[in-house]
Symmetry: C2
Subunit: 189 residues, 2 copies
């Protein structure tokens, strides 16, 4: 064991994020939002900065609030999935633990269906809409990642707490990123 207890941690996105995000534009419509999430996933694979997953959060004016990519291995943190990175970066930017605390609607676009951890995190983040690229079954078919257990009616459980789900946005493109990562051999965790 190392010496002292750790009492704080810092989780960071890779530096290349700044090259492909543009805060001065709007991202109107579901496809433009999902395009960014899938591009983040693809870049994360090609730059070897984490797993094949990307996410982005937008406000109701279609402006980008935050992005995330999977950083589990480089950060030594099992929670550092794309959705979690985007959610906390958005909350830090807005200075509140629920994005919609002061009103407004926030949308999370994720390149693949959230795993059991990120699914649970959605409920407390202050989101209104969830866009999903690849399905959970795609993740488990194309890679060795485990999605974990979800409630049977997982979409209904989100809807009952005010979060609308739309799936299969750019599903093929999102699947291609998963396949590209798997063909390079992982790692899977």
């Amino acid at each position: 064991m190392g010496a002292e207890l750790v009492s704080a941690f810092r989780l960071a996105l890779p530096e290349w994020i700044a090259d492909i995000t543009d805060e001065d534009r709007a991202y109107p419509g579901d496809l433009a939002k999902m395009e960014l999430a899938v591009r983040l996933a693809r870049e994360n694979v090609r730059r070897a900065s984490g797993g094949p997953f990307g996410a982005a959060i937008f406000d109701e004016a279609d402006r980008l609030v935050a992005v995330g990519v999977n950083r589990v291995v480089p950060m030594h943190a099992s929670i550092a999935h794309a959705e979690i990175m985007a959610i906390v970066c958005a909350q830090q930017r807005l200075g509140r633990h629920r994005l919609d605390e002061g009103g407004g609607r926030f949308l999370l676009a994720t390149s693949a269906q959230p795993c059991c951890q990120c699914y649970g995190a959605l409920f407390w983040a202050g989101l209104s809409e969830l866009l999903i690229g690849a399905r959970g079954e795609d993740v488990e078919r194309l890679t060795e990642f485990d999605e974990g257990p979800l409630p049977e009616d997982w979409i209904g459980a989100l809807a009952r707490r005010g979060i609308t789900v739309r799936r299969d946005l750019l599903r093929e493109e999102a699947c291609a990123v998963l396949a590209e990562y798997a063909s390079a051999g992982g790692p899977f965790y």
Copy 2:
């Protein structure tokens, strides 16, 4: 909206943590481990540093690896539950994204049943055992916190992935902390 995208974040435990953790002793048996988790929860309420939840991770020699308390409101981060704080602090200390990656068994003691987010996070952390103080129904009966949706057989789903659950450790003491927090009026989130 603030200026630039946020690309990293730091989450910290309160400074008083150092006063009540002792790395030189062992914590043999379930009760000694849960005592620390409940004490962390109680101190977090009394020092007004977060919600009424505490957690601690131990290795198979009964040594303390990391602790966590709820830091959602002070850190502006919906993920900063006690279990998540303990898991990531443990992973940072050991320098790996799965605690049991190099072998060994790790136990998480938490003062209250994990919510849907922390439940999902358990699967990827590299844990073997989970000790729970108050039940989810206690949390929802004694406070206004929402535990969120879990799979129907949530304990079985953990067991099938190698995580053993033991409940009702110091349940009354853990419930007393929840009641103390609620009687002071929250906040609940």
